[in-house]
C-alpha cells in the first residue's frame, strides 16, 4: 500500500494534509480534534506580538459564494490573527506538540516589521517545541492596514529582510506564506528564497467583496451597515493558486524551492493537482470549515487508492510530474489538431453545445439533421476549442479527439503533420526564428 508519510522543509508528518493557519487551528481544543481526525499537520493560527489582544468585529466575519443548493464555491473572511493572549497560545502549542509528537506543528507569525519584534517572538515560539514557523505575509485585510501581512508580502525587499532575520534568530525551518495580491508571484517567492526561506506556502486569500444586499444596497456582508474587503478562498481560487505554484516551480531562480500548496483543496483530486505541479504538501482550511475535520479521512483514502492504482509508492513518485507539461503559449504545438465529437448514445439533446458554439464560437455544431433535432460536430468548422465540452451537462458525452498525423483536417484542408511547430517559427510571426525554440 502507498505510503503517505511526508517530509516537507525538513518537517515530518504522516500524511501531506495540513490544516492551514486559520480559525480551525486557533486553540488546543480544535487542534486536538484535528489530529484525532487524522490531519498530518497543523499551522497554528497566526500569533502576533505580546500586548493587548487583537479585537475582531462583532458582526459577520464570513461570506460565501454558494450554488442554489448551497454548495460552497468561494469563501470570504475578515477575521484577524488570533485574538487570544500570546502566552495562552504558546502554552497550548507546547502542550499539543507533546501530545502529538509525530504530527507536524508549525506556528504562523505576524509581528511588526522590526528586527526586535521578530527576534522576540521567535525565541518564545522556539521554546514550545514546535516544528517550524510560517511567516504570514499574506493576510490581505485589517492587519495589512497596520503594515503587516500582505503589506509586507507585496514588497519583495521586506520579505527578504524579515526572512533573513528569522533564519538568523531561529533554528526552525522557515516557511514564507505569500499573498496572491501581487502582479508576479515569482518576485516575492524569489525574495523569500534570497532571504533563506526553507519553503514558501501559497496562496493566502485574495482581496474580495462578496456582493451587495439588493434591498438595502449596502455591501454584503456588512457590520453596522458598512463592509470591508475580505480575503477570498475556497474552490473558486484553486486555478489561480495552481498557476502561481507552477510559475514558482518553472522559474529558474525559484525552481526546487519547496512549496506548500494552499487554495481550494477539499479532496484528494485537488491535492493531486498541487502535488503533481510541484507542491511538497498541501494546506486546507475552507473545506474543513464547511464539513469539519473528518474530511481528511476521505482525502487520505482517495490519495492512497489513487497511488496504489498508479503504482506510486510514495508522494515523491509523482510530485512535480506535471510541471514539465506547463509551458508558455509560444511553445505550444500549432500542428496538433483536435476536433470535438459527440457520443450520440449518451447525448440527451439539450442543445447547449449547439447554442454555445452557434452564438459565441465557431458555428460548428448542428441543431437539426434530416428534419430531426440532432447535435453533431461539423469537422470542417470545428477548431477544437473545448467550449462544447465544458457546456455539456453529461460527463464524457462530448470529448476532444486529437487527429493522428496524416489525417486530413477538413477545416483547413491540410494533412496533419507529424512534426511539431510552434509560434516561434510560424510564418505569421514577425519575430520568427528559423529554428524552433
Amino acid at each position: 500500500m502507498a505510503d503517505l508519510s511526508n517530509t516537507f522543509a525538513g518537517i515530518r508528518s504522516p500524511n501531506p494534509f495540513w490544516l492551514a493557519s486559520a480559525p480551525p487551528t486557533d486553540k488546543a481544543y480544535n487542534v486536538h480534534r484535528a489530529f484525532e481526525a487524522g490531519w498530518g499537520g497543523v499551522v497554528w493560527k497566526t500569533l502576533g506580538e505580546d500586548g493587548p489582544p487583537i479585537v475582531n468585529v462583532n458582526g459577520p466575519r464570513y461570506g460565501a459564494l454558494l450554488t442554489p443548493d448551497r454548495k460552497l464555491l468561494g469563501f470570504n473572511n475578515i477575521e484577524l490573527i488570533t485574538d487570544r493572549p500570546l502566552q495562552l497560545n504558546l502554552q497550548e502549542i507546547a502542550e499539543v506538540k507533546r501530545a502529538w509528537p509525530e504530527r507536524a506543528l508549525v506556528v504562523s507569525l505576524m509581528v511588526p516589521c522590526t528586527e526586535a519584534a521578530w527576534k522576540a517572538i521567535l525565541t518564545m515560539v522556539e521554546d514550545t517545541g514546535c516544528d517550524g514557523v510560517e511567516l504570514n505575509f499574506g493576510c490581505p485585510h485589517g492587519m495589512s492596514e497596520r503594515g503587516m501581512g500582505a503589506a509586507v508580502g507585496q514588497v519583495p525587499e521586506y520579505i527578504q529582510m524579515v526572512t533573513a532575520w528569522c533564519k538568523h534568530y531561529s533554528r526552525l525551518p522557515v516557511i514564507v506564506k505569500l499573498t496572491p495580491n501581487i502582479t508576479d508571484i515569482r518576485m516575492p517567492a524569489a525574495a523569500a528564497k534570497r532571504g533563506g526561506a526553507d519553503a514558501v506556502s501559497l496562496i493566502n486569500t485574495i482581496n474580495s467583496i462578496m456582493g451587495v444586499d439588493p434591498l438595502t444596497l449596502t455591501m454584503s456582508p456588512a457590520t453596522g451597515g458598512m463592509g470591508s474587503h475580505g480575503g477570498y478562498c475556497g474552490p473558486a481560487v484553486k486555478p489561480i493558486a495552481l498557476n502561481m505554484v507552477a510559475e514558482i516551480g518553472r522559474a529558474a531562480e525559484t525552481a526546487g524551492l519547496p512549496i506548500s500548496g494552499i487554495g481550494g483543496i477539499g479532496s484528494w483530486r485537488d491535492a493531486l493537482d498541487y502535488i503533481a505541479l510541484g507542491a511538497g504538501n498541501v494546506q486546507v482550511c475552507t473545506a474543513a470549515m464547511v464539513y469539519g475535520f473528518k474530511i481528511v479521512q476521505e482525502m487520505s483514502d482517495g490519495l492512497t487508492n489513487y497511488m496504489d492504482q498508479m503504482g506510486f509508492k510514495t508522494i515523491a513518485d509523482f510530485r512535480g510530474r506535471a510541471l514539465p507539461t506547463v509551458t508558455d503559449w509560444q511553445y505550444l504545438n500549432l500542428n496538433a489538431v483536435s476536433k470535438a465529437q459527440i457520443d450520440q448514445a449518451s447525448c440527451i439533446q439539450c442543445g447547449r453545445c449547439h447554442i454555445a458554439c452557434e452564438d459565441t464560437s465557431h458555428q460548428a455544431i448542428t441543431a437539426v439533421k434530416d428534419g430531426q433535432r440532432h447535435f453533431e460536430v461539423m469537422d470542417d468548422e470545428c477548431v477544437g476549442c473545448n467550449l462544447c465540452v465544458t457546456a455539456c451537462p453529461v460527463p464524457e458525452c462530448i470529448t476532444l479527439r486529437t487527429l493522428a498525423p496524416g489525417e486530413l483536417d477538413p477545416r483547413t484542408g491540410q494533412v496533419v503533420s507529424a512534426a511539431a511547430a510552434n509560434w516561434t517559427t510560424h510564418p505569421n510571426n514577425p519575430m520568427r526564428k528559423t529554428e524552433p525554440a
Binding site: P68, D69, I348, H354, A367, V394
Partner: protein, 459 residues
C-alpha cells in the same frame, strides 16, 4: 369476485370518518415548494436550446426562461413568462398531465429518469403573484370599441376573453353556472385546487379588466346565439361538454346511482373541507369509467371514508383516459382498478331497498382481432353507490340549427377556432380534436382571440 358477498341493504351515510380527518384528506395533493426546494429544483434545469419542454407544452410556455427567473429570485418575471403564454398557468400547473407533456420531453428524463418538476415550479411562480396580485403584470391595449361575446367561462372561454381584453376589446363572458371557471370550478378533485384556487385565479383574471362576466346565462336556443352574433363583432363558443353520457343499462335510475361530475361538483362547492363530513358516501363504491373524472370520483369517495372503491373500465390499460400518474394516484389511495368489464345492469336491493342500487353486474370482454368481444363471463360487484364517469357530450341540436358542422358529437373548427360560420368561433372541449386537456382548451382560447382580433381589423 365472481362469488360476491350477499346483496345487503345499502349503506350510504355521511361522517364515516373522524371530523378532523376531512381537512387532512382534502388538503393540497402536492403542496407548494418552499423557496429552498424551488431553487434546488430550478438548478436542475439545463436551459436547453429550443427547449423540448416548451415544444411539448400546448401553450408554448418558455419553460427554461421562467425557471431561470425563479432561480434568479425574479418570481414576478417568472409568473409573467408563464401567464403571457397561459393565463390559466396556475390551474394547469396543478392539473396538467405533465408526465406526458413538458416533463416527458425534459432532457433530465432522458438523462436521469427524473424530469425537472416543471409543473411544481410553475405553480411556485404563479402562486407567488396570485397571493399578492399585481394589476399591471399583463398589459392591456387601449380600448378598440369592439365587443365580443364568449359563451362558456371555462378554460377556453377565459383564455379567449383575456386574450381579447388584452387586445383592447370589450368582452362579455356568459356562463350557465352561478360561478365562472367551468371545469376548473366544478370539475376537478378538491385536493387538486385546494384553498379555493380556481376562484382566486378567475378573480385575478377578471381583475385585469375588460371582461364582464354574466353568470346564470344558459345557451338554450339558436335565437340567443343569433342575438349574440348580431350584437357583437364575434362570438366564441366554449361551452364544453355539458351533458353526461348514460350507461344505457337496466337500473341506471336507481337511487345511489349518480353522475360522477355532479358528485365532484358537490364536493367542490362544499363550504370548506370540514363541511365534507356531511356528504353521504357508500360503504362500497363502484365507479364506471377510465378517465380523469373516474379517478377524481373514486379517490374522493375513498377520502370521504368509503371502505372499498372499485374503478371499472371496459377496455385495457392502454386506452384509459386517466394518465399513468392518475392511475398510480388512484392505486396508492387503495382504489382497485378493473379492466375489460362492461356494465350490464345495476341491481336493486330487496324490500326497503328495492329502489336502491346494491350491486353492478358486468360482462367480461376481450379484444379479439382488434374488436371487443364478450367472453361469456360475468362479474358482480357489490355497491352502495355507483358513479357514472363514461364521458360527457355536447347538446348538439341548436348548434346544428345555427349552421355549425358537427362531427363525432363536436363542433368542427380549425385550430384558430373558425367554424365556417362567419363571426362564429369555437374551442375547448366542444371543438373536435385534442385530448380534452385544460391546457389545450387554453391554447384554443388564446389562438381564437388572435384570430378574432385579426378578423376585426381585417374583415
Amino acid at each position: 369476485m365472481s362469488t360476491p358477498e350477499p346483496l345487503s341493504a345499502p349503506d350510504v351515510r355521511p361522517a364515516r370518518l373522524a371530523a378532523e380527518l376531512y381537512p387532512q384528506h382534502f388538503a393540497d395533493a402536492a403542496p407548494r415548494y418552499s423557496r429552498g426546494q424551488a431553487l434546488v429544483e430550478a438548478e436542475r434545469c439545463l436551459y436547453c436550446f429550443d427547449a423540448p419542454c416548451t415544444t411539448a407544452c400546448p401553450t408554448g410556455i418558455d419553460v427554461p426562461s421562467f425557471i431561470r427567473r425563479i432561480a434568479d429570485d425574479n418570481l414576478r418575471g417568472a409568473a409573467k413568462t408563464i401567464l403571457e403564454a397561459n393565463p390559466l398557468g396556475g390551474t394547469c400547473a396543478r392539473v396538467c398531465p405533465t408526465e406526458v407533456l413538458c416533463e416527458q420531453a425534459c432532457v433530465r428524463t432522458t438523462q436521469q429518469g427524473k424530469p425537472v418538476e416543471i409543473g411544481r415550479l410553475q405553480r411556485y411562480a404563479v402562486d407567488a403573484v396570485m397571493d399578492r396580485p399585481i394589476a399591471t403584470l399583463l398589459s392591456r391595449a387601449a380600448p378598440t370599441g369592439q365587443r365580443v361575446a364568449v359563451v362558456g367561462a371555462g378554460p377556453a372561454g377565459l383564455a379567449c376573453a383575456l386574450g381579447l381584453a388584452r387586445l383592447g376589446h370589450a368582452v362579455v363572458l356568459h356562463d350557465a353556472q352561478t360561478k365562472g371557471g367551468g371545469l376548473n370550478e366544478y370539475g376537478l378533485a378538491a385536493y387538486k385546487v385546494a384553498d379555493d384556487f380556481a376562484r382566486r385565479e378567475i378573480d385575478w383574471l377578471l381583475g385585469l379588466g375588460g371582461i364582464t362576466l354574466k353568470t346564470g346565462w344558459r345557451l338554450e336556443d339558436a335565437a340567443q346565439l343569433q342575438a349574440l352574433r348580431r350584437d357583437h363583432a364575434a362570438v366564441y363558443l366554449a361551452v364544453g361538454l355539458a351533458t353526461t353520457q348514460g350507461l344505457g343499462v337496466p337500473g341506471e335510475h336507481l337511487a345511489g346511482v349518480r353522475d360522477a361530475v355532479d358528485f365532484i361538483a358537490e364536493l367542490r362547492q362544499a363550504a370548506d373541507p370540514a363541511a365534507l363530513q356531511h356528504l353521504p358516501i357508500g360503504r362500497r363504491v363502484v365507479v364506471i369509467g377510465g378517465g380523469m373524472t373516474a379517478v377524481d370520483a373514486a379517490v374522493q369517495s375513498k377520502l370521504l371514508g368509503a371502505e372499498s372503491v372499485h374503478m371499472v373500465y371496459r377496455r385495457g390499460p392502454a386506452t384509459m383516459g386517466a394518465s399513468r400518474a392518475e392511475q398510480d394516484w388512484a392505486q396508492t389511495h387503495g382504489i382497485t382498478i378493473h379492466h375489460w368489464l362492461v356494465p350490464e345492469a345495476i341491481l336493486p336491493g330487496s324490500g326497503d331497498a328495492a329502489d336502491h342500487a346494491v350491486a353492478v353486474r358486468f360482462a367480461r370482454q376481450a379484444l379479439v382481432g382488434g374488436r371487443l368481444q364478450p367472453t361469456g363471463l360475468h362479474e358482480t360487484l357489490a355497491a352502495d353507490m355507483v358513479f357514472k364517469a363514461i364521458g360527457q357530450k355536447l347538446d348538439t341540436a341548436l348548434l346544428t340549427d345555427f349552421g355549425l358542422t358537427l362531427q363525432d358529437g363536436r363542433i368542427v373548427a380549425d385550430d384558430d377556432g373558425r367554424t365556417g360560420v362567419p363571426g362564429l368561433y369555437a374551442g375547448g372541449d366542444c371543438r373536435l380534436g385534442g385530448r380534452d386537456l385544460t391546457v389545450e382548451a387554453v391554447e384554443d382560447g388564446k389562438r381564437a382571440a388572435l384570430a378574432i382580433h385579426a378578423a376585426i381589423h381585417n374583415p
